[in-house]
């Protein structure tokens, strides 16, 4: 049985123009990540890690090259289909959390499910609430579910963002420094949570600056100046 690829990039370049300057945030990157893999991405600040995650998460599009998600070419799919994949297939943990400031932790976690109703009518408000509470429990925030983001610590916000990424049971979890704001203990808790998900067959891609966390990943990819400089399977 051949492995299914979840992510496949072929000669992907992402260029930004800043004034007169042209920056290749990603420079001719080719990469395949298969179903069930657990990958850590490392590299110095500004080397293009977030840019890569945004492309994989269907938030942005490459300037050049091709990208398959779940073996589906993504270049020409409709905006609605991209939205559906973001909702049903991917769980994204942002580097800066991206929580709605006016909504409670619970409502923030519920949000992906609100849009999931379009594909699955069984996601009623009651089901939604139950799932959101479960997700918050998994990150240890049951007692904070009615707090707004500005009433939470940085680490707690990060965990709300993680709960939101988990809530719709995605096949692929993308974490852009998901433990960046956590102390080493809760960082470990989150990593064991990702482990557990990985054991259930979820594909996981994490960006991290923490060498300890990176070392625990079965596969480590190092970036420098928009290029892969090391791709290491343990």
């Amino acid at each position: 049985m051949s492995l299914k690829s979840v992510i496949r990039l072929e000669n992907v370049t992402k260029t930004f123009q800043m004034g007169g300057e042209i920056i290749n945030a990603l420079d001719d990157v080719s990469l395949t990540i298969n179903e069930g893999e657990y990958v850590a991405i490392t590299g110095p600040s500004g080397c293009g890690k977030s840019t890569l995650m945004n492309l994989i998460g269907l938030l942005d599009q490459p300037t050049k090259g091709r990208f398959w998600l779940a073996e589906q070419e993504t270049l020409n799919i409709s905006d609605d289909d991209r939205a559906q994949l973001r909702n049903q297939y991917i769980g994204f943990v942002f580097q800066n959390f991206n929580l709605l400031p006016r909504a409670s932790a619970l409502r923030n976690v519920e949000m992906p499910l609100v849009y999931a109703t379009a594909y699955d009518k069984s996601v009623t408000p009651l089901v939604r609430r139950k799932k959101a509470e479960e997700a918050l429990a998994r990150v240890g925030l049951t007692d904070r579910q009615d707090h707004r983001p500005n009433e939470l610590s940085g680490g707690q916000r990060q965990r709300v963002a993680i709960a939101r990424a988990l809530v719709n049971s995605p096949k692929l979890i993308l974490g852009d420094e998901p433990t960046g704001n956590l102390d080493s203990r809760s960082g470990k808790d989150i990593i064991s949570l990702f482990r557990a998900l990985h054991e259930q067959g979820v594909t996981i891609v994490l960006v991290t600056h923490d060498p300890v966390i990176a070392a625990q990943a079965p596969r480590q990819i190092a970036f420098l100046d928009g290029k892969i400089v090391e791709d290491h399977h343990q």
Binding site: N54, A83, Q84, R86, F92, F94, N168
Partner: protein, 402 residues
Amino acid sequence: MSFREIIRLAIEALTANKLRSGLTMLGLIIGVAAVVLLVSIGEGARKFITKEFEGMGTNLIMVQPGKTDKKQRIGPPMGGSKEKLTLQDVTAIERQARNIDAVTGVTMGSASIKYEGAVSNVSVLGSNAEFIRIFTLKLSEGEFFGNEADTQGRRVVVLGVDIAKNLFADTSGIGKLVKINGSEFRVIGVTAKAGNSLGFNFDEIAFIPTQASLKLFNEDKLLGLRAKAKSKASVEDAVNEVKEILKARHNGEEDFTVLTQDSMLETMNTILGMLTYMLGAIAMISMLVGGIGIMNIMLVSVTERTREIGIRRAVGARQKDVLRQFLAEALALSLVGGLIGLLGSVALTYLISFATGKFDMRAPYWILLPAFGISSATGILFGVWPARKAAKIETIEALRFE
């Protein structure tokens, strides 16, 4: 996103900034209220005038000199130059018309009226003895002049109650001699207080016999004829009769216009109906202003919430979900605003009607649905553009928005 969720989000967004939502709605509240109030005033005026008309003597027929074009029948023509109606026309109708109960010629002029030191400038109306019956005029003192007074050209006068008060204060004027434009007239009656009716006030008019008035103003033609049909049912026959008689006397030419109370009412209704629609249409402009207010606030809101839009899109909101969310907010603003404006203005029209007692300007039912419909449509119309703008924002740009 379910319908329920859209409503919930819209209500949350609007209650999050109550003052702003309230002020935005105010524009539409005023717009809807303006439409309802102006239309109600127009309708009220129509009802009021209709009532006044109907109280103005029944089965009334008016003949004015001059032909009226069928196309432009708005109001009677005022005293044509060549065409004239004379006292002989009155006599002919008196003798020949079988469906006419009473007929008089009328003249109208202004004159000064003097008694000892007191002077009044008044309207002088010339008529025969039938006038009092045709217009159901009531006297408080003395009596109206009889037919022989008219035919003999006697100089007698019945004073409107206000004139009598002005000349004689609280004493009776009956039997006194007054000077109208220098000629002496004997006061034989005073009218009872009647008040203003359609801008025509019998209390301020001096009534004298036709012969005397033609002499006074040195005229030989009448302002017109006023007649009363025997019954409501015979008005049409009476009109035809009058036309035949007058045509025969005027060399077969219809150089006059016959109006009935019904035809005047009809004309009046047409004019006032048009006025009502026009007022409503003008008020619609304020609705437009309200709509622009909604659009303005929605555009601000879209910009302010760019990041929220990015986050929603990132977790799976489609363009149409964002569109619906913002459209629902605009619609909620206009629905609530429209409803408040509607209820407020309807309540106000009822309040005013009961407070004045006389002027019934209660909002007509037919305006409610269009007023509410148009205000809702305004919300959708002016909400579409901001909502489309929100839906078109690029996800990644929105997430980077500070």
